[in-house]
Amino acid sequence: MATEYVRRFSRTERTLHWVHASAFFVLLGSGLVLYVPKLSELVGRRPFMKDVHVYTALAWLAAIVLVVAVGDRRGLARTLRELDRFDEDDRVWLRRRWTRPQGRFNAGQKLNAALTAAFAVLFAVSGGLLWLGERDTRFRFASTVLLHDGLMYVSLVLLVGHLYLALIYPATRHALRGMTLGTVRRDWAEEHHAKWQP
């Protein structure tokens, strides 16, 4: 019998994910060169690395706006609503009862989405303040660097967990197919996302 696939992520959702992911890696790489003394010495070219970092950040924000503007906004609004709402099963699931049936997103994925969105805002605001602060003292706060760095550390931890679940952990790594090709196996969906009706 041929394997049956169901659609999990729309093209708009996947584009948003990969815009965010690729920008994150470029920003992380250039940011570490600016931040880790030994890397700074090795790579040098700080003014250029700063430009890479700042322009990637601008391109990242612009690309997100663009994808939302030309993409399937109605679908995104529906997704946002799904991510926002935690029902009784979700709340029990969060207490590590991972047998509770889940929708298209499990409760952990919903939380990850909320954190990722909040971090995006905080990265953008703190990064913008660092840029402005170099030009105008009114935008200079002693804690901006601390916030930007702290977000980086927490993001790294989240990223490692995310990559582990998406690439390595056998039970969940099939989800990667949903984020690349858009579809997942029906039997996998029924096992991991029982309440989702594709």
Binding site: P37, R46, R91, V125, L130, R135, T137, A194
Partner: protein
């Protein structure tokens, strides 16, 4: 499948609450982050000293303005001291190291908000350095530090340079000054932000007026007192 059960009645909007909560805590940390971090790192310093070195970042960030850091060659390196001094001269690294040696432990503050506490510096006081060039002339007011990292330059008044904890440092934490910290010599003035602590100094011009330094041409204060300048 549980699809038949209607659970919409007890849905809670945790998603937006998590988003807003984290965003607000993050934004508010702009106002309390540094003091909280200082309190925390006081407690954590015992823990971090027990961990292998390098695991916890030292706190230093390396700021440069040119594409590559200057490279120090002990045999060919020279420090030029000229302008309003009695006997302008050029020192070799050996000659500089043979001048009266001073040591200090001081804190380092960057204008962007990070600090490194208890840095152990070794070097020479400016009074002794200028004495090696016959001393400053009576009308001398300002020392201008020219970095080998072009076009970085900054200055201190003679009075500031002769404060008790100001030096031209050639050692840091017991070792020759590392390349990324300005090898072989940098200015250390703990009471002023890092951009006055010029790295890779290759020439000191003694003059009667200051011209704005690299960051001062970009809007930063000439007198960069920690906590009392640059909008703090």
């Amino acid at each position: 499948m549980d699809a038949g059960r209607d659970t919409r009645g007890d849905e809670r909007t945790y998603g937006r609450r998590a988003f807003l909560g984290v965003t607000l805590v993050g934004l508010s940390s702009l106002f309390w982050g540094k003091s909280a971090w200082n309190a925390f790192s006081g407690v954590a310093s015992g823990v971090s000293s027990a961990l292998p070195p390098g695991l916890i970042p030292s706190g230093w960030r390396i700021y440069t303005v040119a594409d590559t850091m200057p490279t120090f060659h002990p045999a060919t390196w020279r420090l030029r001291i000229d302008g309003l001094v009695e006997r302008p001269r050029t020192l070799t690294y050996e000659e500089l190291r043979s001048l009266p040696r001073a040591e200090q432990i001081s804190n380092f503050h960057c204008v962007t908000g990070w600090s490194v506490d208890h840095v152990h510096w070794g070097g020479v006081r400016f009074r002794d350095l200028l004495a090696s060039a016959g001393g400053a002339k009576p009308n001398a007011r300002v020392l201008t530090f020219v970095s080998a990292e072009k076009p970085y330059v900054d200055s201190l008044t003679l009075r500031q340079a002769e404060l008790h904890d100001v030096m031209l440092a050639y050692e840091m934490d017991g070792k020759p000054l590392p390349r990324e910290h300005g090898a072989p010599v940098r200015v250390v003035i703990p009471d002023m932000y890092g951009y006055k602590n010029v790295k890779w100094v290759e020439r000191i011009v003694v003059g009667d007026t200051a011209s704005p330094g690299y960051w001062e041409q970009r809007g930063y204060d000439v007198d960069a007192w920690v906590g009392r300048s640059n909008g703090y």
